[in-house]
Amino acid sequence: MVFPDVSLAPLLPILITLLGAIAATLLGFYLPRRAVTLVSMVALVLSGISMASLWNRGLSAFSGSLQADNVALSLGLIILIGSLMTLLVSFDSAVRAHLSFPEFDALLLYAVTGTLIIAFSGDLVTMLIGLEVMSLSGYVIATLQGSRRSEEAGMKYFLLGAVGSAILIYGIALVYGATGTLSYVGIRDATSGLQVQNVGLLVVGALMLLCGFGFKVALAPFHQWTPDLYGGAPTTVGLFLSTVVKVAAFAGMLRVFGGAMQNVPAWASVLQVLIAATLVIGNLAALFQTNFKRLMAYSAVAHTGFLALALLGNPATGGPALTYYLLVYTLMTAAAFAVLGALQRSEEGFSIDDMRGLFYRHPAYAVALAVCLGSLAGLPPFAGFMGKYLAFQAAFQAGYVGLTVIAAMGSVAALIYYLRPAMLMFMPDRTPAREFPGERTPTTAAIALGVVGVTVLGVLPNVAYGLVANPAIWTILAGR
């Protein structure tokens, strides 16, 4: 009579979202779609509450394969915020975007479940399950609209995503071969001081994992699908994929590389190169975009570089930096996409020139967007600055000076391409409005959430940073 260690408490956030997803799946046949969306939101909120209740208790289930430590919880909360904003936006834009199926919410929640599993994961297989649940739902969400553009986007996403997963899985296999275990703790202990008999296997495995994650978070040179996806998929979907999914992928990287692999050689230096490439490519490519949506897509790529900087730092400084930056990134990107979704006439988004004089047509939206762009560009007092600052600091203290300088130069370029639309909005212009007219209260709510969050976090970073700053929770990243 063997009884595995099953304790439901740490599972609660995941279970709630999963139940929400199931409910959305089934209720879709009986309720109108908006009602389903409401149900999903409730599920998300409940899950958030349950997370808050788990704070600082450091529970774990399935003998450590699933751990609800503060890291998981903080990342999970970020994910929930992103998803909530997505749902709010979809409230308005779904019908316009021909996305108004109950399946949309259901799949979204399944994806969220997957992301949460990643954040909570305590061993490679759990992480893998989460990753795949997320990706698979993601593929469908991206394709759901059924338009030519979104189908192409989904196709690209799917093919490259599948390749990424395959590489990732092979990496897992190799790491397992090298260490004989799949749990983070086991790997960490097995690799501490490199008592492994076959380091080569381990290193190759680690690099393959890096490669696979590179696909998921869109590090150059594995980023080709990103702009097409974020630009081609409906804006709501782009919002979701570029925030929540990315957060989750980074959560996985944090767990795997910050926790399990922290004393495995060689991956850090490779990651360094990848980051440099990402910064250069992402920022330069973004400079030449004429469509705001694609601009955002490339900015997402560029930001991957900035975010990954924090990964290079040792967990005690990099972890909190990454978490804070991810939160900020989610807020500002989601808000920017939300504004886009609120104002765009078609799913192609609008060209940057169309934004001229937006301030005089929709002052509130324009200011909000300006705040988001300023934050994305890393201008104080908005939180984006603090995030960049933390990432730089983490990377710098880990000794990557050159990379930090590259990043700084990159953000100069970033400032330029964020500034153009931001300033164009304020340039007086007599041409008639090109935006979608109409009532969009929920979207506005989402935007407000994002903008307020960005501002408050910028002026008082401690509100969020203080929660995660405690280095103790980052030393046990792999688990006890």
């Binding site: 063997v2 199931i22 799946t25």
Partner: protein, 108 residues
């Protein structure tokens, strides 16, 4: 065994190739369409329904595959196994119910 079985099949084909008469003619080699001349390609798209069935099969077959180890080890695990199974089946049934309502199992 596979080899043997395969061998027998090949043998049969080869033998008949050697012994069988060869009198091909256009009309003899023409695909059969109730006597009419065949129209278009023989491999036109087939109803998407078959794709659906195939995918459903994959999914549910994997689900069955999950059952086997559980089944074999069932009596060693005890009551826990049962609840595990119930959870699993419930999840499967959700999907089943979904496709049922979607009318995938309908053939008109």
């Amino acid at each position: 065994m596979l080899l043997i079985a395969g061998g027998i099949g090949v043998l049969a084909v080869v033998v008949s190739l050697l012994l069988g008469p060869k009198k091909p003619s256009a009309s003899k080699l023409m695909p059969y369409e109730s006597g009419n001349d065949p129209e278009g390609t023989g491999r036109e798209r087939f109803p998407v329904h078959f794709y659906l069935v195939a995918m459903l099969f994959i999914v549910f077959d994997i689900e069955t595959a999950f059952f086997y180890p559980l089944a074999v080890a069932y009596q060693n695990v005890g009551a826990f196994a049962f609840w595990e199974m119930v959870t699993f089946v419930v999840l499967v049934l959700v999907g089943y119910f979904y496709i049922l309502k979607k009318g995938v199992l309908e053939w008109n």
